[in-house]
């Protein structure tokens, strides 16, 4: 893997809300920083003092284990103090507004608030009103920028480049913030993206985002360098999106046979949690081409990089 020489200074923003608004240089700067942070997680003492004295709050209005834990570990490895708030959506409906909650938290002087919310745009609402940094940890159907970044990092490590790749994203694109962030990320870095699924899950106007659209999984994975399977939200069954899990998995579940159509070294990715046997066959998820667990490892590095850069990237050597 060759670093581009882009320095951390290319990323200077108060908030990280999405990949749509980031330039190629900004994305590269985050990835470069993440690479330099990866080594910390391999040490026996996995901690550097970089963000000592900084306070990071995670504010999760949607259940999440992996993303929240990943952010928390990232903050702790940089020596930031972390506080986790999980707010049941139902109690938020009854009580305090999002803005009030956030303003109350800000009154305690945190440096960064990381928010996940089931409504698109909720992080933007906070970012406009708060002085501290806001990180979008997934908003509705809109974006999940750190997932997109960790996916880019994983592919970059495996392929040595992020341009001129063919990336197939398969599944419920309509309801996927992971898909949106990856579409923006891979397109900005110069790769080709093809999305596939039943038309019920492919919203109109996708071609206007610069992606190719297919209703066929074999067609989408043919010649692909990267195959990204999306998690099927099981409750969509019976909601007019697809008739049965059986038929979905028959036509849009990735199996060993499909891999033969892709490029020989094609990567198999999945943002998790997996529905084994639905969108991905177990032997593919655990197979040699799967980088699903590398994605999780890279999640910590990418989130360390994001927290560090939003804090101003104060220390000169990124890895301190």
């Amino acid at each position: 893997m060759q670093t581009t020489g882009a320095k951390a200074t290319s990323f200077r923003r108060k908030d990280l809300l999405g990949l749509a608004e980031l330039s190629r240089e900004e994305i590269q700067a985050i990835l470069d920083t993440a690479v330099s942070f990866k080594e910390i997680s391999t040490r026996s003492i996995k901690k550097v003092p970089t963000l000592r004295g900084k306070t990071v709050i995670t504010l999760f209005y949607e259940p999440s284990t992996r993303t929240r834990t990943s952010f928390e570990i990232a903050a702790k490895r940089l020596s930031a103090d972390t506080v986790n708030l999980a707010i049941a959506a139902s109690s938020a409906v009854k009580g305090e507004t999002l803005i009030d909650t956030a303003k109350n938290l800000e009154a305690m002087r945190p440096d960064i608030i990381i928010i996940r919310h089931s409504f698109s745009g909720a992080p933007h609402l906070l970012a406009q009103r708060l002085h501290c940094s806001v990180v979008n940890a997934g908003d509705g159907l809109h974006e999940h920028p750190t997932q997109g970044l960790l996916d880019l990092l994983t592919v970059w490590e495996a392929k040595g480049r992020l341009h001129d790749l063919k990336v197939a994203i398969v599944g419920d694109i309509a309801h996927s913030r992971v898909a949106r962030s990856n579409i923006h990320g891979f397109r900005t870095m110069g790769s080709q993206v093809i999305v596939a699924g039943p038309q019920t899950m492919l919203p109109p106007y996708l071609p206007d985002l610069g992606v190719e659209v297919s209703y066929s999984l074999p067609e989408a994975v043919r010649g692909a360098d990267v195959i990204m399977m999306l998690r099927l939200q099981l409750e969509r069954q019976g909601q007019m999106f697809f008739p049965t899990l059986r038929e979905y998995s028959r036509f849009f579940g990735l199996n060993q046979g499909h891999l033969a159509l892709a490029r020989p070294e094609a990567l198999v990715m999945h943002p998790g949690p997996l529905n084994r046997g639905v969108e991905i066959a177990p032997e593919v998820a655990d197979g040699l081409q799967s980088v699903i667990l590398q994605q999780v490892t890279n999640g910590v590095a990418v989130r360390m990089a994001v927290l560090y850069l939003l804090s101003g990237g104060e220390q000169s050597g990124a890895a301190a």
């Binding site: 999002l98 745009g121 933007h124 609402l125 919203p203 985002l209």
Partner: protein, 431 residues
């Protein structure tokens, strides 16, 4: 007291008149409309309107006054002040109050409040169904006697086609027009903005244009079936314009309105999750805006109505999905509509007709003319006046406008109802 309005350019499409005239108002009625300088000023209150345009009073046939029930958003008194400041002399108020205006009692309450407010004329629109719940017809006969001028379940479209048929038939019995909020809610599903590239990018659930168009088509076919008078509210899509144009060419008794935001903004205004750009129907595309303008130009769309829908910060400073639908419009409608004249889409006479005579005719209410003998409901407009929309200056209780900061040319200089000056712009009458 006699009032002499002198020196203005009088534009009254109802009498094909566009020239300088003086107007004499006696006891709230137009007593004379004569060549400038003909009438002596002695013994009369005189207002000099030189350089200003004098029109029949503007009528907004689609307003939400929020009273009774949501007085923190707007009251009949504040809504009336906002209307007068925007150049309107009359408003028709939609029945989605708390309680819903589905009985003569509510209509009488509204009229009583309006009389107390001593502002613009207020014409209640009564509910189609009890509680606007779409199940049982409301009492149209009672409502008409009490003063309701039309029927609508605005905001809660009639889902049941059979109920809509019966509503049209029963409305025809009492010669009341039915105003259709045309929306197939099953297609809207939980959509919060127009379905297009912007909704895809923002990850907001989309409402396809078809959600409006299938409902417009249904109601037009029911108007054909029943012979009732149908009026389509807040037309927002190119397809709806086309369906209405075809229906009119076939002689179906259908009329239609659009609102200024549907020819002034597109779904791009939602970017940044701007809840002040959230309304029902939603802002559409450039192509829809072009079709709305064409529909206004060729007469397919009879009226421009505001769909003034006040909401407080409680409903708007929240997540986009949770935000209430609606924008205020009484104080920006005229300025935004005059842009159509400046762009050459409508003549000034066409515009004024769509803002006065046409709504008067559809609702069957007085107004829309400056004929001698008519009530002196008059709007005076400064066509040249440049101004910047500032929501803090609004008379409305609410501030939910997507037009804050916009540069407009032309606004109301004076508004008179029954010959009484309800509003005057100090810039024009500083003396």
């Amino acid at each position: 007291m006699e009032l002499l309005l002198k020196g203005g350019l009088v534009l009254d499409p109802s009498q094909d008149l566009e020239e300088r005239r003086d107007l004499l108002i006696i006891d709230g009625r137009l007593a004379a409309l004569v060549a400038p300088g003909t009438l002596p000023p002695e013994g009369r209150q005189v207002v000099d309107l030189t350089g200003l345009l004098v029109c029949p009073g503007l009528i907004d046939m689609h307003t939400h006054l929020r009273e009774p029930g949501q007085e923190y958003k707007e009251t009949i008194a504040t809504g009336s002040q906002a209307a007068a400041a925007g150049g309107f002399t009359a408003v028709a108020c939609m029945p989605n109050t708390l309680p819903v205006n589905d009985s003569a009692t509510v209509t009488r309450y509204i009229l009583e409040k309006a009389a107390q407010a001593q502002g613009v004329r207020v014409y209640p629109v009564a509910a189609i169904s009890q509680g606007s719940e779409g199940a049982i017809l409301a009492e149209y006969g009672d409502q008409k006697e009490a003063g309701a001028v039309a029927l609508s379940d605005d905001g809660k479209p009639v889902a049941n086609s059979q109920l809509m048929r019966r509503a049209l038939e029963y409305a025809r019995t009492f010669d009341l027009p039915v105003i259709s909020h045309s929306e197939d809610l099953s297609l809207t599903s939980n959509g919060v903005m127009h379905e297009g590239l912007v909704s895809l990018q923002l990850g907001l659930k989309g409402i396809p244009a078809a959600a409006e168009e299938v409902a417009v088509f249904r109601d037009i076919e029911l108007a054909r079936l029943t012979g009732a008078r149908l009026h389509i509210a807040h037309v927002s899509t190119a397809g709806s314009v086309q369906i209405i144009r075809r229906a009119k060419s076939q002689g179906i008794k259908v009329t239609a309105e659009t609102a200024p935001h549907y020819f002034s903004l597109t779904h791009e205004a939602v970017r940044g999750f701007n809840t002040n750009a959230k309304m029902s129907p939603p802002l559409r595309t450039e192509a829809d805006v072009a079709a709305i303008k064409a529909g206004l130009a060729d007469g397919t769309l009879d009226c421009i109505a505001t769909d003034h829908a006040p909401h407080s910060v409680l409903e708007k400073e929240v997540e986009f999905d949770r935000a209430a639908n609606g924008v205020i419009g009484l104080e920006t409608a005229l300025g935004l509509s005059l842009a159509l004249v400046q762009e050459g889409i409508l003549t000034l006479a066409q515009l004024i007709t769509k803002l006065s005579a046409n709504p008067a005719r559809i609702l069957g209410v007085p107004g829309g003319t400056l004929q001698v003998g008519a009530p002196a409901d008059i709007t005076v407009i400064d066509l040249q006046r440049p101004w910047i929309v500032d929501v803090q200056q609004f008379k409305s209780k609410s501030r939910n406008s997507p037009f804050h900061g916009r540069n407009l040319t032309g606004r109301a200089a004076m508004t008179l109802v029954d010959g009484k000056i309800l509003y005057r712009d100090n810039e024009n009458f500083s003396r």
